[in-house]
Symmetry: C2
Subunit: 383 residues, 2 copies
């Protein structure tokens, strides 16, 4: 189809036109005086968004690559680690830490559950861990964990805290320094409103002190930290993506991080209100922290894959289906980054049309209004 | 300065406007039917440019990252490997293979020398090697090695052949299959005329058979091969860069690889002829294989860094200085990728101006003409 296209997935996410324009600028040499100010601005803004005074290490890699940097630097074969999972990405980090020989205690919740700090405390009483590996926003389920509370428990037990902030950073509060998070990993392609290809990693002094001797080169923290400290890069950086990220971070900081977080809370409320008004059952928790992605159960007898396909083929709208065991059972609306309420109403209106055409028993004509009201009501509530 | 800017370094290299335009297109989801044909086209074209029937693995990473994939997959602690180096990048691969515990026999030439197949044969007679690690185009010196001959010697001894083709692939012939190269690593930001951020790796069946159990995840060949075989990606790919690379590869294949190689040979001849006409001494070998970057010695008493700075500050032209011990002694003109002869004459004219202003004793008014003649003469010679 040749019509308008809408990207409403939880990553990659839509990129603002100013960022796309920056990507189309002629290439700058990474060691030229033209690029250095862009690089410096980008690294400074990253620290602001991560809310840390530490250097945020920037890698040409996906979020998983940046996460692997944490594993390569911190995991030494045989050392005990606690991995907390409640969905696809948590499971990936368990696999990844095990691939490097970590002796993994796996606190494994069913997909969609919310990790409980008391469970983490109990595990750490039974067995020490060098680090606790946490997922902030589990993109596969819509659950946003209470990282502040989980981190506090880990710190209490003397463990390092490593956080997957790939889909959370810049969408919901993530106070790297104030919450004592030792490592926060993120990626360019979610709330940071930039194409995929950049992974980043904030690293505390305690985490540097915990670095082991597992072989590594490209993802070695110290090599990248040292290069960045003189505004150099250890390896040729993706200059176009860095220039785009700098523009995107500028947009985020101009709006103000707190305003950005509030917008995401309201978008989440709008998405959930609309889905419920239609008579759909939420898979995401119906609470304000769930401000990143809204997962919705397909009605009985309806394949969620058919909903995703219908939106795509008939309306040019890309949303996400379920992963793993949730395939066919849920569909997911992303609202991370460059989103406003009309993206939510567009998604809901199209979901309503497609579900109706699939013969689902849903309430017609109420979702969009419910979403707008939830969005506006949130606004006055916050004032 | 606000004037025109010229990027004439050996990487990152200038990117054609059609590629920049592709980078500014709205983001496509990597699993959407809109992206799949772009991805398939890009992977198919990569195989054509690598001249291989094997899958070319694509990573969100710099060239060094893709090279590290070869190390992580092939190097097992304690196994013997032969690393051949004659410059900055060869030295890097010696460091990288050692970082993973390889028992490295280092055939180490002075920077600027050309590796000799007889030396490789002699080393392999003394000691077996699981793999021989070679640099095709040593960007730090301008030397392009005779990879076909070096690889033949390695195959004769039963070793795998790993080639750093980062600055050579798409500029000079690199016959992956015909020459029996087991691994060829490259990057997007050189002759492939795309911004930095994509690393790639062609892998032979013999190389897959030699894969060891060193811990890895992101750069695991099998994980990426398996995903690509169904046109999926193991991790969110940098969709914008992939779309750009697809356009760039299309330009390369439309021109025809043999025509592209011939253009590079002529560009190299032009650069060398111009430099010699001015009375400058070449650091790059004065032979047709040196078609990637031309390294030139600064005249006695002149700091090569001042030449680089003069071109940049006074004329908006970015060229490269020397690396390592060659810092201050040489400057380097890149002509990889989106270059024609007028880029060479621009560089030579500006070098002439800057050297004259620095008081160098050079011949004035002849370099541009000599370059154009060498370029044209090459043309008739090739006809």
């Amino acid at each position: 189809m040749g019509g308008k296209q809408y990207l409403l997935t939880p990553g990659p996410t839509p990129v603002p036109p100013q960022v796309l324009a920056a990507l189309a600028e002629p290439i700058l040499h990474h060691r030229s005086p033209d690029f250095t100010p862009v690089y410096e601005s980008c690294l400074t803004r990253l620290r602001e968004v991560f809310r840390t005074t530490q250097e945020v290490l920037l890698f040409a890699a996906s979020g998983t690559g940046a996460f692997e940097s944490a594993v390569q630097n911190l995991v030494v074969r045989g050392e005990p680690h606690l991995v907390v999972s409640a969905g696809n990405f948590g499971e990936r980090w368990a696999t990844l830490t095990r691939a490097y020989g970590a002796d993994v205690d796996h606190l494994r919740y069913a997909w969609g559950e919310t990790p409980d700090p008391d469970d983490v405390r109990a595990r750490l009483r039974e067995r020490d861990a060098k680090a606790v590996w946490l997922v902030h926003s589990e993109t596969s389920t819509g659950v946003v964990a209470d990282i502040e509370a989980l981190a506090a428990v880990a710190k209490e037990a003397g463990a390092l805290v490593v956080v997957d902030g790939v889909s959370s950073l810049g969408a919901v509060p993530c106070e790297t320094d104030a919450w004592g998070l030792d490592v926060v990993v993120s990626g360019s392609q979610k709330a940071l409103m930039t194409p995929p290809g950049l992974g980043m990693c904030a690293v505390s002094q305690a985490a540097y002190a915990g670095v082991g001797d597992t072989p590594r080169f490209y993802f070695d923290w110290e090599r990248t930290r040292k290069a960045q400290s003189t505004l150099d890069a250890a390896f040729t950086p993706p200059v176009s993506l860095v220039a785009g990220l700098d523009v995107a971070l500028g947009l985020l900081l101009d709006e103000g991080l707190d305003a950005v977080f509030e917008r995401h809370v309201r978008l989440g409320r709008a998405a959930r209100a609309g889905a419920k008004a239609m008579g759909l059952e939420l898979f995401s928790p119906d609470e304000d922290r769930s401000a990143v992605v809204t997962a919705i159960r397909a009605p009985d007898g309806i394949d969620a894959g058919a909903v995703v396909k219908g939106l795509r083929d008939r309306h040019g709208i890309t949303i996400a289906g379920g992963q793993g065991d949730l395939k066919g059972k849920i569909f997911r609306l992303g609202h991370i980054g460059f989103f406003d309420v009309f993206d939510i109403t567009t998604a809901l209106a199209a979901v309503e049309l497609v579900l109706a055409s699939l013969g689902a028993d849903i309430e017609r004509g109420v979702a969009v209004t419910a979403a707008l009201e939830a969005y506006e009501h949130s606004s006055s509530a916050a004032a």
